[in-house]
């Protein structure tokens, strides 16, 4: 049972983690990003679309479409993030409203497009893109370790991808000049500006990266949860990722901790239900576990949180 909890927990936690890292990029640069939900959905849509097209043209038996779907998802997420950029960075719109709009738009746009594309190109009436089931593998040697070996058992390839991308993201954020500029823009854009940094450019790149990272998370969920893309992708995991990054105090490592907590809360809940032989209707109740944990954490940890100082503030150069 412990094995299942660990395996399922990681499968759920890691995609959320990479979405949260995306959120951190945007918010550390000073742009509130409630759009994670919409960005991951839109990314999953473009990724799934590319996957379906490639499967049709290349046939089965190759892993290329699988990896290409992640590239496509990331690009789609980045492209869609430009909506948030245009509203918030270019026109100084309210970032909360923009985020919500981006989410709602993603939901309706992707379900509309999925139906149209299915009808017009594949001659089907469906609101889904059916994906190939992802392969899973055991890491040699490591998977043999008692108990903890489960973390290396029936691993999705995207889990490795997420870890690698997250390490790169951490390096960019804390070791490169760009990362330094990004964090400065989130604390005091006036200081960044005075140091000759183009605040709008830095924020544009940050939000675009945020879109790409969120999209990788969305694509992963499309493979792991349902092996298809449908409007069911909008289950609110994007919002949960935002909660995770807040508990993680806008830092990448603690955010991983928060995501793992959510993941294990969910998977152990499910395991308990199965163990007790409760009817599957209780599954819905268990799905709320991460949210209940969120609420409890909110009560206890909110006061220790320090958000980026300029988060959500509209940056107007002329204002002194």
């Amino acid at each position: 049972m412990i094995d299942t909890i660990i395996i399922d927990g990681l499968t759920f936690a890691l995609p959320m983690f990479i979405m949260a890292v995306g959120g951190i990029f945007s918010e550390k640069s000073g742009i509130t990003n409630l759009a994670v939900e919409g960005l991951q959905g839109f990314g999953a849509f473009t990724g799934a679309l590319v996957m379906v097209i490639m499967m049709n043209s290349m046939g089965n038996g190759t892993q290329v479409p699988y990896y290409m779907s992640f590239v496509a998802a990331a690009l789609g997420g980045m492209l869609y993030a430009l909506v948030h950029v245009i509203l918030c960075v270019k026109f100084n719109g309210n970032q909360v409203i923009s985020g919500v709009v981006v989410n709602i738009l993603a939901m309706s746009l992707t379900s509309f497009l999925t139906r149209r594309i299915n009808a017009d190109f594949f001659g089907q009436t469906s609101n889904k893109f059916i994906l190939e089931t992802s392969i899973r593998f055991d890491v040699p040697v490591l998977s043999g370790i008692p108990v903890l070996g489960a973390a290396f058992t029936s691993v999705y390839p995207f889990e490795i991808l997420i870890i690698v991308v997250a390490i790169i993201a951490w390096y960019v954020m804390y070791r490169t000049p760009y990362g330094m500029h990004l964090r400065a823009c989130g604390d005091n854009p006036h200081a960044a500006d005075a140091a000759g940094i183009d605040v709008k450019k830095v924020r544009t790149v940050a939000v675009v990266l945020s879109g790409g990272l969120s999209a990788i998370g969305g694509m992963s969920y499309a493979y792991s949860i349902s092996a298809n893309f449908s409007p069911d992708i909008y289950l609110g995991f994007g919002y949960l990722a935002i909660a995770a990054l807040i508990f993680g105090n806008w830092s990448i490592l603690p955010t991983l901790g928060a995501c793992l907590l959510f993941g294990f809360a969910r998977s152990s809940g499910q395991a308990i239900i199965q163990k007790l032989g409760m009817p599957s209707t209780f599954n819905d109740l268990v799905r709320t576990l991460p949210y209940v944990v969120t609420l409890l954490l909110l009560v206890f940890f909110s006061k220790n949180n320090r958000s980026p100082r300029a988060l959500g503030e509209i940056y107007d150069k002329g204002k002194r």
């Binding site: 390096y171 490169t176 500029h181 964090r183 604390d187 200081a191 960044a192």
Partner: protein, 522 residues
């Protein structure tokens, strides 16, 4: 223009804002290696002309030459490339970055991890900054975090930021406004050191003593126009003050002997805690009579804020009592205190004193808007607000671009202060608390505030004047109290204390002859 002796030449600069001409045909020529001061009242256009030089504003007319070459400066970034640096009045620092990270921001030294992956070389940055700080005598620890160092250190970081970028022309916008006297001394020393290193320094200020102490030449601005450029050595401070204000200014305050009446404010064994829950005011007792100015002297942060806030009802009292006209007001609300005749001019006019987004007329009526005079059955009488506003604007010479409808945020600091003082004095209070009333004001405005304080006393009000400026205390007070570490360690008639004695009490030295050396400048 090759070999011009001037490093900066600004010719016929005019900068207009909606409704105001901030600079009107101003021409400045600054020599390499000199300390050049820009003197003027609040709103004279000093900061604007320097913002033009630093590329923050583009002038509507005029030309700029740097090292003899005509330039068009459109951004701070470009100004930096031309070797111009500026320390703004409000520092531009990233609060959660270290000193070194702030200094290198935007021009980070880089290295390659394993020869390929680029990263910021923070070790090199720390070493470079330590060396730079050594060279110019600017003490900083490169690894400490900005939010944990004091204002004076933050200012040194700003200076190092300019030096790190090899700036040759250094602009300081009112650099001493936020510093203690010891820190000012240190800063002036640093500025002299910069000149010795061949830098050109431009300093914006309205403090005449500082100009006298360090500047070589001084340009005087008034209402956006250049009045004169003077050689500092050959010009007296009173001459500079006259040019700056446009009229004679007296540095001493004329006042008659106090005619104190009955006790108005009585503070008994008052103990008040600060935000951290520590006792900031400890067992303080004193009283003020009507027609008396009680000045509380002390170094910043010795409990003055907490004491004033507790008397005004903003902070809760831990122990002790406050009596106004023999009535215990310790537990009363702020409104009850106001109705009982207490007026308060807080130190932080932007946060506590005024609502920055409100119009001037609304701010002037904010303490009594609910009276029948201003509202009728809970409906506000707009005309009464306007009439009241206009009356105070005329009586106290509050200048603004749109009269009583001006949004307070858009007014200059000096006029905001005037507005607040006008509102409080107009209430005809029995007790008026002035907390740092002349902070950030120019000499002309200061002398007006002092006149109002004395006029209030002569009207019969009890005045509590809390000031960090020793001159102000000595000039205005009838009675002086000195606060140190939350306790009042001396109360005496103003005539019985010398400046030096008050200074010693301020450093916590009782009059046993032990002299305070150095002190805790932190």
């Amino acid at each position: 223009m090759e070999g011009s002796e001037y490093i900066v030449e600004m010719k016929h600069i005019t900068k207009r804002f909606p409704r105001i001409v901030a600079n009107n045909d101003v021409s400045l020529s600054i020599k390499k290696g000199e300390i050049y001061a820009l003197l003027g009242e609040n709103g004279a256009g000093k900061s604007t002309i320097m913002s033009v030089l630093f590329g923050m504003y583009e002038p509507d007319e005029g030309e700029i030459y740097i090292r003899g070459e005509k330039v068009n400066i459109t951004s701070p970034r470009q100004a930096t490339k031309l070797g111009i640096g500026m320390v703004h009045q409000h520092f531009k620092l990233v609060s959660n970055y270290t000193v070194a990270e702030n200094i290198i921001l935007g021009s980070e030294p880089q290295n390659k991890l394993c020869g390929i992956i680029p990263h910021v070389d923070i070790k090199k940055a720390n070493a470079d900054i330590a060396a730079l700080s050594e060279q110019y005598g600017l003490k900083v620890d490169p690894t400490s975090v900005i939010s944990e160092v004091n204002v004076s250190t933050q200012q040194r970081v700003e200076i190092l930021k300019m030096l790190y970028r090899d700036a040759e022309i250094l602009i300081f916008d009112e650099p001493t406004a936020v510093l203690t006297p010891q820190e000012i001394e240190y800063l002036l020393e640093i500025i002299r050191g910069l000149r010795a290193n061949g830098k050109t320094v431009i300093i914006i200020t309205h403090k005449l003593e500082e100009i006298k102490a360090i500047a070589d030449r001084c340009a005087i601005l008034n209402h956006g126009r250049l009045i004169d450029v003077k050689d500092v050595k050959e010009t007296s401070t009173s001459e500079m003050a006259r040019l700056m204000v446009g009229r004679e200014v007296s540095f001493t305050v004329d006042k008659t002997e106090a005619q104190p009446g009955g006790t108005v404010l009585k503070v008994e064994n008052l103990t008040v805690c600060n935000e951290l829950g520590l006792e900031a005011v400890k067992d303080v007792s004193f009283e003020i009579r009507s027609g008396e100015i009680f000045a509380l002297a002390g170094v910043s942060g010795n409990g003055q804020n907490e004491l004033a806030d507790a008397i005004a009802g903003i902070k809760p009292v831990k122990k002790g009592r406050v009596l106004l006209n023999s009535r215990d007001i310790t537990g009363m609300t702020i409104r009850e205190r106001i109705e009982d005749g207490m007026a308060y001019i807080p130190e932080d006019r932007q946060k506590v004193g005024l609502v920055m987004g409100y119009s001037l007329k609304d701010n002037l009526a904010i303490k009594n808007y609910y009276n029948a005079r201003f509202s009728n059955h809970k409906i506000i009488k707009e005309e009464a607000f306007e009439e009241h506003g206009d009356r105070l604007i005329n009586a106290y010479d509050i200048r603004s671009s749109e009269g009583n409808k001006t949004i307070v945020r858009a007014m200059s600091g000096g006029n905001q202060q005037k507005a607040m003082i006008a509102r409080e004095i107009d209430m005809n209070g029995k007790l008026i608390i002035f907390m740092q009333p002349t902070r950030g004001l120019d000499v002309g405005a200061i002398s007006n505030v002092h006149k109002s304080i004395i006029a209030e006393r002569d009207r019969g009000a009890a005045v509590l004047l809390i000031s960090l400026e020793l001159d102000e205390v000595m000039n205005c007070a009838d009675t002086i109290g000195v606060i140190f570490d939350g306790r009042i360690n001396k109360i005496a008639k103003a005539s019985e204390l010398s400046v030096n004695e008050v200074g010693e009490y301020m450093m916590g030295v009782s009059a046993t002859g032990v002299s305070a050396k150095g002190g805790d400048a932190e």
